[in-house]
């Protein structure tokens, strides 16, 4: 398959765009592979791509229950940032950010990375002190971070409610200018196409029902399209991790919760950055089509339903209006839900499991989309070497047993609170 280029775009345009070849093959599953990745979301596809590209392991299948781009990779709010604070989170998400910055060239697919800046508002002196401490941690890791006081923020984002009567008056913000958004579908399609070009089989409509265990190790999977054997099996099915892991007899430090996202009718350009509210869970940006894309907190109870409930719709929109009353007359175009793996400390898991041959990637909480490149990169390393990379050593499955939690929010072992 030939690479995409401006010249190809031009020649295909002359033929009315009717001659584009398919972006990836639709192969029948083979009897066996070196590595099977379960889950054709962003993380699974990225893992397959980096297995082939970084480690030369190309006899790989990605098994997807539905279709590419139909799960959480197409349901998020597309935010990319690396403004994390504690332990291994800071270097991991910065490595992801660096991969994002080269991703369109690397994949030969425009993922439409837009480094428009990501900011979190501060609503008290104490919160601004916490933001300053976070900014200093980031700078110590070589990551860009700025603190904007109220006047500097008002200059950049004039349409927020700066009155002293606001329920949570705005004191300033922490800003990462390299943060922003990427086109989520393009990330899925780009990784799928790039992995396919390196020889990876992407098998859609192939649901994994069970694992094959022989002599205490995992040697393959039973699927809706037959038995497929493999030397190593990697799970990347966040949202349904517990459900699938139970088939291998594993119990995980995870609950599944539903998180809603929203988009308004399109309007002229208003929001230049990604803006997160500091006194409640709320984050908003404007898509290239003009719709305001935003999200808030979890619905708050275990759920595998990809739909949310009205009290949270109400709550999220109340926060929107508290932050920016000018949004009050916009109409909501759509809202939808995605199922999240919520872990006991709010941080992900990328590790081997106690079963030889079975590797686990999941527990992404709110963090999945931005982590996609580094998640695939480190999971591929973990599978290829049978041991974690330095960057994901802190995301061990066993960290809860030994007390090495990574609780960025500091809310304790209650998944719904992260």
């Amino acid at each position: 398959m030939k690479p995409y280029s401006a010249w190809k775009l031009f020649t295909h345009a002359l033929r009315g765009h009717r001659g584009w070849p398919e972006a990836w093959r639709k192969p029948e599953p083979a009897a066996g592979y070196d590595v099977i990745i379960i889950g054709g979301g962003g993380h699974g596809l990225a893992t397959a791509y980096y297995l082939a590209k970084n480690h030369g392991i190309t006899n790989v299948a990605v098994l997807e229950r539905g279709w590419i781009g139909g799960g959480n990779v197409g349901r998020n709010t597309t935010i990319v940032r690396s403004n994390y604070w504690i332990g291994g989170n800071t270097p991991f998400y910065e490595w992801s950010m660096k991969l994002w910055e080269g991703l369109s060239h690397d994949l030969n697919f425009n993922v439409m990375l837009s480094q428009r800046g990501h900011m979190i508002l501060g609503h008290s002196d104490d919160q601004m002190q916490a933001h300053l401490r976070r900014a200093n941690t980031m700078r110590a890791h070589g990551i860009d971070a700025e603190i904007l006081d109220r006047e500097a923020l008002r200059h950049e984002v004039p349409w927020l409610d700066y009155s002293n009567n606001a329920r949570f008056p705005i004191h300033g913000a922490i800003l990462q200018r390299r943060g922003g958004t990427a086109r989520h579908d393009a990330v899925a399609w780009g990784y799928a196409r790039a992995a396919d070009r390196l020889g990876v089989d992407i098998i859609e409509n192939c649901e994994v029902h069970d694992f094959i265990q022989e002599g205490g190790r995992i040697t393959g999977v039973e699927t809706s399209r037959g038995t497929i054997r493999a030397e190593a099996v990697g799970m990347a099915v966040a949202g349904h991790s517990s459900h699938l892991a139970a088939r291998a007899g594993l119990e995980l430090p995870i609950e599944s919760h539903v998180l809603q996202a929203f988009v308004t009718e399109p309007i002229k350009p208003l929001i230049d950055h990604v803006i997160a509210f500091g006194a409640g869970h709320f984050y908003i940006s404007q898509s290239d089509k003009g719709g305001l894309v935003f999200g808030g907190a979890l619905d708050g109870y275990n759920s595998y339903a990809q739909r949310g409930n009205l009290p949270v719709v109400n709550e999220v929109n109340e926060i929107a209006l508290a932050m920016a009353p000018s949004l009050s007359r916009l109409r909501l175009l759509r809202h939808w839900g995605g199922v999240m793996d919520m872990t006991m400390d709010g941080s992900p898991i990328i590790d081997r499991t106690e079963l030889e041959g079975l590797y686990f990637n999941g527990g992404w909480n709110y963090l999945g989309f931005k982590a996609t490149p580094a998640s695939g990169w480190t999971f591929a390393h973990t599978i290829a070497h049978g041991a974690p990379h330095e960057l994901n050593a802190c995301f061990g499955l066993d960290r809860f047993r030994v007390g090495h939690h990574l609780d960025e929010e500091g809310t304790g072992p209650v998944p719904g609170h992260h």
Binding site: H240, S242, H243, A246, E251, L252, P253, I254, E255, S256, G300, Y301, N302, S303, Y304, A305, N309, L310, P311, M344, F400, R401, P413, V414, P415, G416
Partner: protein, 93 residues
């Protein structure tokens, strides 16, 4: 909106309630010094897709703790009972 049938107040919207998580995990005895038992109690969850027994507290009503059985995929609610009654029954063995 989930509608939870509180045995004391009747059927109410779920936003009158606070969610308390999986009701099938049991706390080890306070003098149990097994790390494994405490690890399982604090951190591991079955997290089923389907029927789930879970705690809800009717904070805007009678303030009772309830055990509700709900399907996590369809949100169908099969019933609710006082958590205190369930505890007394299990204590009687």
């Amino acid at each position: 909106m989930l509608r939870i049938p509180c045995p004391f107040c009747g059927e109410r919207d779920h936003h009158e309630f606070a969610y308390g998580g999986d009701a099938t995990v049991t706390r080890p005895a306070l003098n149990d010094s097994s790390m494994e038992a405490w690890y399982r109690y604090v951190f591991l969850r079955r997290n089923p897709k389907g029927r789930h027994r879970e705690f809800w507290q009717h904070v805007s009503g009678c303030r009772s703790w309830l055990i509700v059985e709900r399907d996590t995929a369809t949100h169908e609610i099969f019933g609710a009972r006082m958590a205190a009654d369930a505890t007394m029954e299990s204590n009687r063995g």
